[in-house]
Symmetry: C2
Subunit: 357 residues, 2 copies
Amino acid sequence: MENRRILQIQADVNSALERFLTRQSSGLIEIDEHLKPVAISLAEFVRDGGKRFRPIFSYLGYLGAGGQPSNAALNASSALELVHACALIHDDLMDESDSRRGRPSLHRLFEVLHRDSNYLGSSEKFGTAAAILIGDLALSWSDQMVHATNSDFVDSLDFAKALPLFYEMRSELMAGQYLDVLEGAIAKSNTNRSRKIARFKSGKYSIERPLQFGGALASGKPEILKTYSDFGLPLGEAFQLRDDILGVFGKSEITGKPSGDDIKEGKRTLLIALTLESCNPDQLRFIENSLGNNDLPETDVNQIQNIILDTGGLNRCEEMIERLYSESISALDNSDIDEEIKELLTFMATAATKREK
Amino acid sequence: MENRRILQIQADVNSALERFLTRQSSGLIEIDEHLKPVAISLAEFVRDGGKRFRPIFSYLGYLGAGGQPSNAALNASSALELVHACALIHDDLMDESDSRRGRPSLHRLFEVLHRDSNYLGSSEKFGTAAAILIGDLALSWSDQMVHATNSDFVDSLDFAKALPLFYEMRSELMAGQYLDVLEGAIAKSNTNRSRKIARFKSGKYSIERPLQFGGALASGKPEILKTYSDFGLPLGEAFQLRDDILGVFGKSEITGKPSGDDIKEGKRTLLIALTLESCNPDQLRFIENSLGNNDLPETDVNQIQNIILDTGGLNRCEEMIERLYSESISALDNSDIDEEIKELLTFMATAATKREK
């Protein structure tokens, strides 16, 4: 599934990130050459990082609100990827994940550096400290990248309108992450709560807010920001539901994560909540006992997959994705956004909900 | 040691933080009432937080560069305290510190919440996740607080000049923190490296950059920013050296930290590096074996204190503080900063280097 215009935006986002990270890395290494592993690992983490959904949605939001093609808007949009890098680096640390996109997670990378260098003390503690600080750096740099634009092109973009949305997005992300952790600890699955968490942690953060941020950069009117919300919120939820499904059924050679990863991490996703609602007591006990078991054998993962199939949990999830997708597309169709941008957003909506990784 | 004008600035900084945090907290709790502990604990962490050195230096930097008394400048200066909150929260987590200012550290606080609420899973993991996310929130909010000013008073302050210094300061902080962790792992004390780390981790971050940030907000000329550097860098180093001394000799009822905390954490401070240079082999072995031992008995802490006294390490450290202090004061005296601000900066220089906590 390809779209030339989207591929071009993606390539431009990658270039913008590359330019920014190259400059920042030099700055770090000038302070001390021992910071090389920090600079390199963060740049590689961002470089290898997937789909650029958030920058693309932001830039499309900008174009859809009438913004003219602009490097400044593209640069500010690309900064969202640095927020995302912080979220993933810190998330992997909190989840104690060993890998990300088929490579060692950042804290594990620095554990290995510690071990290979024969450093003193605990390798694990060293990895933890490095991942905390590198995530902080990414978060801190996200603002810097937004404002790098600000000083160069201060007149062409509406920062006064866009910045509050950027800040709102980051607070909602942290809030959603905390609620997600809390949900695992409370350990009572509840479809309403799961939907709410999915909305904040992923839906708003991945789609609605990026669209609105971009729209605001182009001084978008309230109606267009409302359209982005009507399109982005259901789509964001569908996006997260696809994530839930891939977290259980995803092929590890495609997702880059161990199979059944979400089960092992004990994530109480909506898919799990929907399944538990239709389980018999044996199935329920089996799932509850497996959630959060990091060493869960492959056969047990398969058995849970079967339960999710048998109870209709997967079907209900797929139906919800379908319904949410349609809801978002009709919001788009009913708007007066430029036809070409509508097409690109529709393409992105499909990519976000029908992906395999 | 008191100064009415400084006390007034400190009180104004506290009010600005209180106002901002109250607004942000409401926003969080509107998302979900389960975020109350997040909002409350971060607000309390900032509220209980000491001396406000960085905001005060920033605001004095602003006034010294000719800025007129302004709530906007005070607000932007106060935002530095949120960067500091992130640094401390994440630092306590990396160091596995149990307490901060005589109260449980944030990750321990959420461990207790987890235990008291009979949540599932590991209390420690929950505490870690909460501290990571709350630190991220503080860092993210620091930008927001700087720019809250930006949108309200966009014309009165020179953000184009000041923001790069703000970003530089944060990168230097993270860089210094990483080098500090690395130094503990490399475990070869070296006075040159210790001084460099002290310069980045604390000196530039605590004094030089805040002064320059404030100065730039008032469109300070290059000469004044240079003066702030000449005053701030040696003073910052002296500030850190006082920290080193308090980390070994500080009275825990005043510092709010366990006595000999730095030894137990294995910090390779300049005080330790200076001491090791003059140790006999037995003393050297004793110190090397004690560094990083979290359960070091009180008698061993005392013995290390005696070694630091006997070898003259403490004296050399005090002499360096004295020399650095004089250096910074002469840079100030030789500048054409307004006499009243000179006096306030001199007062602050004394407070930073002669404090007991």
